[in-house]
């Protein structure tokens, strides 16, 4: 057997060209879902097959790759995908947001502001924001084509009618460049404002559903809302128990079976950086942080 078993970044060059053509179209029509011939990948659907294919298509030998899963660099999914590209492409990898040139993410946008030199690749389970309101694909395509988005607001209306506020907390629908309504993948709505006018190129890949879409740099991204119930970010009313951050998105961690819990930054790199640079001010574990 030859020494290199795989082509660079696993996929063959024809496949990468096919994906790049879809990516170019997606960038040209911000928010529009471009069908592509998604391949079988050596991982189950739902683990980021779409994101991995997009990453493989944009990755070059000089790139520095970072992979996060729910904000963390050290969870199974993130570690596996990072190792996958380290092995099949030989690219350098990092956990530091500012060092990375390509960041593949599942369900979070890093806290650190992204730059023009970076590409953010999202893993998307269900790309169609209208899917739960309209099951027919032929019909949702027509609705996108004609910009018939009234039903999106029906969903938000139902939220307010039942809960008194817009209770959609993740996969919160956005309108991209005043045209297409888009599902931002299951990121918390806390991250929606970061997608607006973002310097980095944002690419979305859905492997099972065979769709690619994109937000080019500095594109207007508006979260849908009502005049009297405007869009609001949500984060737990607490500071990070490890780094004390009051501006980051927090995960709630259950620490015992008596109701004890702590809040920590979901973005593990952001949290570590803050602890390295500043003298720590840890909260005692087991108590709720009391300030926002």
């Amino acid at each position: 057997m030859s020494e290199r078993t795989y082509n660079f970044a696993y996929l063959d060059e024809q496949t990468k060209r096919m994906i790049r053509r879809a990516l170019l179209k997606a960038v040209a029509i911000p928010g529009y879902q471009v069908p592509f011939a998604s391949r079988e990948m050596p991982m189950p659907y739902g683990w980021g097959t779409g994101g991995v294919q997009v990453t493989a298509a944009v990755l070059g030998p000089d790139d520095m790759l970072k992979v996060i899963d729910q904000g963390a660099d050290d969870t199974t999914n993130a570690v596996s995908i990072r190792k996958f590209f380290a092995k099949t492409a030989g690219v350098r990898t990092t956990t530091h947001t500012e060092e990375a040139t390509v960041i593949q993410t599942r369900h979070r946008v890093p806290e650190q502001k992204l730059t023009e030199a970076q590409i953010l690749v999202y893993q998307v389970p269900i790309p169609e924001p209208l899917r739960f309101l309209e099951p027919r694909e032929t019909e949702t395509r027509r609705m996108h084509a004609l910009a018939e988005y009234g039903v999106m607001h029906v969903k938000l209306y139902e939220d307010i009618a039942h809960h008194g506020h817009i209770s959609t907390a993740y996969a919160y629908p956005v309108c991209v460049a005043d045209r297409y309504v888009m599902d931002p993948s299951p990121t918390p709505k806390f991250d929606n404002p970061k997608m607006d006018n973002c310097a980095a190129l944002q690419l979305f890949g859905a492997g099972r559903e065979k769709r690619i879409y994109a937000i080019p740099p500095y594109t207007k991204v508006v979260s849908l809302d009502f005049e009297d119930h405007p869009f609001e970010r949500y984060r737990h009313d607490a500071a990070c128990a490890l780094c004390g951050a009051t501006d980051s998105y927090l995960d709630e961690v259950i620490i015992d079976d008596r109701g004890g819990r702590m809040f920590v930054c979901s973005d593990s790199d952001y949290c570590e950086r803050r602890r390295e640079s500043a003298p720590p001010a840890p909260q005692p574990a087991g108590t709720d942080a009391s300030h926002a």
Partner: protein, 274 residues
């Protein structure tokens, strides 16, 4: 190019155009392969007028309604409609976007089966508000207020605004469907057996409500029904269909009291007097 404004804006002086038909159907024909749906149906409908289409099952009434509503492609013929700017246009000449906007603002379609015309998993308020949101309403309070007032108009307790139609009776569902269609103040409503499947007392109440709404709002309506009593109560004009063709048409009272065609005579005499 026609913009949304022409379709949705408030009416211009209707009185000036009262002698112009609102809708003109010319030679509507539909073949399902070699099977005839309906053939060469032509009529004119004026603003505020209610036309009943009666006939037995399979006579082509529902096909006709679906052709008018653009749900089926016609084999030949055309439908002309007078838009709110006063211009009469061939519906086939509008773009799909314009046609769909027209159908969900200036037209209504009441289905026989309310589960097809409603979103069953969405609350009553959301059902009524959907058309408003589709034409750009973005104020929750105002949408809700409008939905409440419409529920009241169709005699549904506004307290039940947050319940889904699943918890509603058949009659209530039908009334909710009517509210959902009328909320954008359409000028034309198509109804397919609006009282089908309801028991008699509920039917009577619904007919009463429909008659009042049609009068108050000056709606034009095309009501497909096999129930001659519905035709008698609601409509001014009637069209009798058989085997896909119109065999008799005229003023409702005239046709029902003095039917000329043998089939119409049979239809009228088949009604069991109580």
């Amino acid at each position: 190019m026609l913009d949304a404004d022409v379709i949705t804006r408030t009416r211009i002086d209707e009185a000036e155009l009262a002698d112009e038909p609102l809708l003109i159907a010319e030679g509507l024909t539909k073949w399902y392969g070699r099977q005839l749906g309906c053939r060469d149906v032509s009529f004119e409908l004026y603003a505020g007028e209610v036309l009943a289409v009666v006939g037995e099952s399979g006579s082509g009434k529902s096909t006709l309604l679906q052709l008018l509503a653009g749900q089926l492609a016609m084999s030949s013929g055309r439908v002309l409609y007078r838009l709110r700017d006063g211009a009469t246009r061939d519906l086939a000449m509008l773009t799909e976007a314009e046609r769909r906007l027209l159908f969900r603002t200036d037209w209504g379609f009441v289905q026989q089966d309310a589960t097809l015309g409603l979103r069953m998993s969405v609350s009553a308020g959301g059902n009524v508000g959907e058309r408003l949101m589709a034409v750009g309403w973005r104020h929750y309070g105002r949408i809700r207020h409008e939905a409440e007032s419409w529920l009241d108009r169709v005699e549904i307790d506004p307290e039940r605004i947050d319940e889904t139609p699943r918890s509603f009776s058949g009659g209530m569902r039908q009334r909710l469907q009517i509210a959902r269609n009328l909320v954008t103040a359409p000028r034309l409503v198509l109804m397919d057996e609006p009282t089908g499947g309801l028991d008699v007392s509920v039917q009577a109440r619904l007919l009463d409500l429909l008659r009042r709404l049609v009068q108050d709002l000056g709606l034009a309506a095309i009501v497909v029904t096999h129930d001659l009593a519905v035709a008698r109560l609601l409509s001014q004009r009637i069209m009798v269909m058989k085997g896909g063709r119109v065999i008799e048409q005229g003023l409702t009272d005239q046709v029902l009291d003095d039917p000329q065609q043998p089939y119409t005579q049979l239809l009228v005499s088949s009604v069991v007097p109580v």
